[in-house]
Symmetry: C2
Subunit: 85 residues, 2 copies
C-alpha cells in the first residue's frame, strides 16, 4: 500500500470518527433545532460532490468517507426539512 493511500485512510478514519457521533446523536434524538438548514444543505451537497470527485479520481479513501457522511447528513437534512414543514 503506498503512503498516500495510507494517509488517506487514516484521514478518512479521523473524519468519520469525528463526524459520525455528532450525526448519530441527531439521528437518535431527532433533535435538529441546533442545525442551520441552509448551511447543512451545503454540507450535504459538499459530501455528494466529494464522493463524485473520489469516483472520478478512483480514490477509495475519498469515496468511502464522503459516501458514509453523505448518507448520514442527507438523512439529517430530510429530518430537519420535515421538522420545519
Amino acid at each position: 500500500m503506498d503512503i498516500a493511500l495510507l494517509v488517506g485512510y487514516l484521514a478518512s478514519l479521523c473524519s468519520v470518527t469525528s463526524f459520525v457521533p455528532q450525526v448519530w446523536k441527531v439521528v437518535r434524538t431527532g433533535d435538529t433545532a441546533a442545525i442551520s438548514g441552509r448551511m447543512y444543505t451545503f454540507t450535504v451537497i459538499g459530501f455528494a460532490l466529494w464522493s463524485a470527485f473520489g469516483i472520478l479520481k478512483t480514490e477509495w479513501p475519498i469515496i468511502l468517507t464522503n459516501s458514509i457522511c453523505f448518507c448520514l447528513s442527507g438523512y439529517i437534512l430530510i429530518r430537519k426539512l420535515r421538522a420545519n414543514a
Copy 2:
C-alpha cells in the same frame, strides 16, 4: 479544466461554505462550551491528514479546503483546551 477538478473545486466551495460560518462563530464569540474536545481533536487531525493526502496526490481542491479548515479548527481546539485548563 477537467471535469474531476471542477467537481473538486465545487465540493471544496461547499465544504468551506458550510464549515467556515460555524467555526467563525466560535472564533468570534470564544464560546467553545458546545464542542467536545476529544471529538474535535479527531477533526483537526483529520484535516491535517487530508491536507497531507492532497499534497502527496497533488490535488489542489483537497489541499486548499483542508488547510483552510485545519487552521480554523486548530485555532478553535487551542481555545477549547485553554478554556478547560
